[in-house]
């Protein structure tokens, strides 16, 4: 293939979708963007960005461990990210209570162990694991039909849980003490939510890379919350920004052959900076 960017968007779009791998990438990217934005909106509200980042690092030992065991890479992502979520959920409880000081120590430890394990698996594996760079910074070339279908199932699952638990989760996220006194199962919800973050991160890491998940998980949600304080608008805007960021990044990555993660991060960061700036000016 010899990608050539013209100034005619119709021609460009036509060129993009003529390859099945590009259609797969667009579908996978869209699913991942929606899931990351929805889960990320709650991550920002709960101030659990550090947890989100650490869980995305879990994808690294996940992928290298799966390669070592001869399993599909995707299974490694999901097992390690969800396992990491459960480790953080149960490790950060002191005498049955959630403790923030304990939590950040546990999260940091889990992150360090993840990197060490990832490197260990990689050196034990010895072979060429696609390329480490692809793993860390993302690629859309290898997205198969099966991967798209798996992402669709994960997106449906995350969407279903959020549809059922959305309101009490919002209550517990923004006003934990009142929610707890009101009978909301705050602790159970925090475990369920960490598992959702694990799923979202495992899905996202397969497309944008282990190190740059953060950009799609946190930045669109933070940007949307800067622009509006209305819950419905804010959620919808976060999803729209994440989807547009992904589409733009896929297009740029296709025509320039540079890493997808770079464009996702740059666009997301520019949007966030613009939103902060706009809010500053409005004051």
């Amino acid at each position: 293939m010899n990608p050539s960017f013209s100034l005619n968007p119709v021609t460009d779009l036509h060129e993009l979708v003529q390859y099945p791998f590009m259609v797969n990438a667009l579908e996978a990217g869209t699913l991942v963007a929606v899931v990351a934005a929805l889960v990320g909106w709650f991550v920002v509200l709960r101030r659990e960005s550090f947890v989100g980042h650490t869980l995305s690092v879990m994808s690294f030992p996940g992928a290298s461990g799966a390669a070592l065991a001869g399993l599909p890479l995707a299974s490694g992502y999901f097992v390690f990210c969800v396992g990491g979520a459960l480790a953080i959920a149960f490790g950060s409880r002191v005498a049955g209570r959630r403790s923030l000081a304990q939590e950040s120590a546990v999260v940091g430890t889990v992150g360090a162990v993840a990197l060490a394990l990832g490197y260990l698996f990689l050196s034990l594996y010895g072979g060429v694991l696609e390329s480490v760079e692809t793993l860390l910074f993302g690629s859309f070339v290898g997205v198969t039909r099966g991967a798209v279908e798996l992402l669709a199932v994960v997106a449906a699952l995350v969407g279903l849980v959020l549809a059922i638990a959305g309101r009490p989760l919002f209550y517990a996220s923004v006003d934990e003490r009142a929610a707890q006194a009101d009978g909301v199962p705050v602790r159970a919800l925090s475990v369920v939510f960490l598992v959702l973050v694990g799923l979202a991160v495992a899905a996202t890491a397969q497309i944008v890379g282990v190190l740059l998940v953060f950009a799609l998980l946190v930045a669109p949600a933070a940007t949307a919350q800067q622009l509006t304080a209305r819950i419905g608008w804010s959620l919808a805007l976060a999803v729209a920004l994440a989807v547009l960021t992904t589409w733009a990044a896929l297009t740029l990555s296709y025509f320039t052959n540079d890493a997808l993660g770079f464009f996702v991060t740059t666009i997301a960061l520019v949007l966030y900076a613009a939103a902060r700036g706009a809010r500053g000016l409005r004051r």
Partner: protein
């Protein structure tokens, strides 16, 4: 007067340490009661007993004619020390709404229709107007001042039209004019809506003019009565086991001086 909550021979403990015991206390319908005493005396624990969140070690408790916790939906509760910093980008109105339906499963779609949604919206508007929060309820709560946030949180506790309102330190970290304004607001809710209010405060002075009765927790005991009976140099000194002086100002209002661990603006050296 009818009693809405009674404790008889009640005792609570944290682990092996008894917090207070032998408490015979009543809350009457429609009265404004101040829950006073030093830090760690068990004031918040008293509210948690009424809510059914803390079990008694001894004695009995009845709340709204049943065991504590049975009528949780008829009690509005404002937990201690909540404030929202500038990064919380959620409207005050949405926090008030959580008091109404925050525990229900599901996710409401924005701009919903239906009679139930319309009724909920009308109730939220009414309660926001009642606490005087109309001007700032649509702003992100993190951008509201401490006094404005406290009004919105009282609206959240009030939105289910409770028979009883339990407020834990709502005056903490407010400046003096806001302490007076929030005290007056709570007294008005009590008088106009007939709600029984129990308000926990560390410093009795900004409140004394508004209260019907006080319950003092200190030294493992509880003493209840009208302010003129309980807030005396003899009673408080005996409760604290230290010299506490009660002065009567020229306008007849009481002022407590020298209470151990009282805020610094009373000239008590730490």
């Amino acid at each position: 007067m009818t009693s809405v909550a009674q404790l008889r021979g009640a005792a609570v403990a944290h682990g092996d340490a008894t917090v207070w015991s032998g408490a015979d206390l009543d809350l009457e319908a429609g009265e404004f009661v101040g829950i006073l005493g030093p830090n760690g005396a068990g004031k918040s624990t008293f509210l948690e007993v009424l809510l059914g969140l803390v079990a008694l070690r001894a004695g009995t408790a009845t709340v709204l004619g049943a065991a504590p916790g049975a009528h949780r939906d008829r009690i509005g509760y404002l937990p201690q020390r909540r404030s929202f910093d500038e990064s919380v980008r959620v409207r005050g109105r949405d926090l008030v709404a959580l008091g109404l339906d925050g525990t229900r499963w599901g996710t409401p779609l924005p701009g919903g229709f239906g009679r139930r949604r319309a009724a909920a919206r009308a109730r939220i508007d009414a309660v926001i107007a009642e606490v005087g929060a109309g001007a700032f309820a649509d702003r992100p709560i993190g951008e509201c001042s401490g006094g404005e946030q406290q009004r919105l949180l009282i609206a959240q506790a009030l939105v289910r039209s409770p028979a009883m309102l339990l407020l834990d330190e709502p005056l903490e970290s407010l400046d003096l004019p806001n302490q007076a304004a929030v005290s007056a607001l709570v007294q008005r809710l009590c008088r106009e809506d007939g709600i029984t209010v129990a308000l926990v405060a560390h410093d009795p002075n900004p409140l004394l003019g508004y209260l019907d009765r006080v319950i003092y927790f200190a030294g493992g005991r509880a003493v209840a009565g009208v302010p003129d009976e309980v807030i005396t140099t003899e009673t408080l000194s005996a409760l604290y086991g230290a010299g506490v002086e009660v002065l009567r100002r020229s306008d007849g209002r009481l002022v407590v001086v020298g209470q151990p661990d009282m805020p610094a603006h009373h000239g008590h050296a730490h």
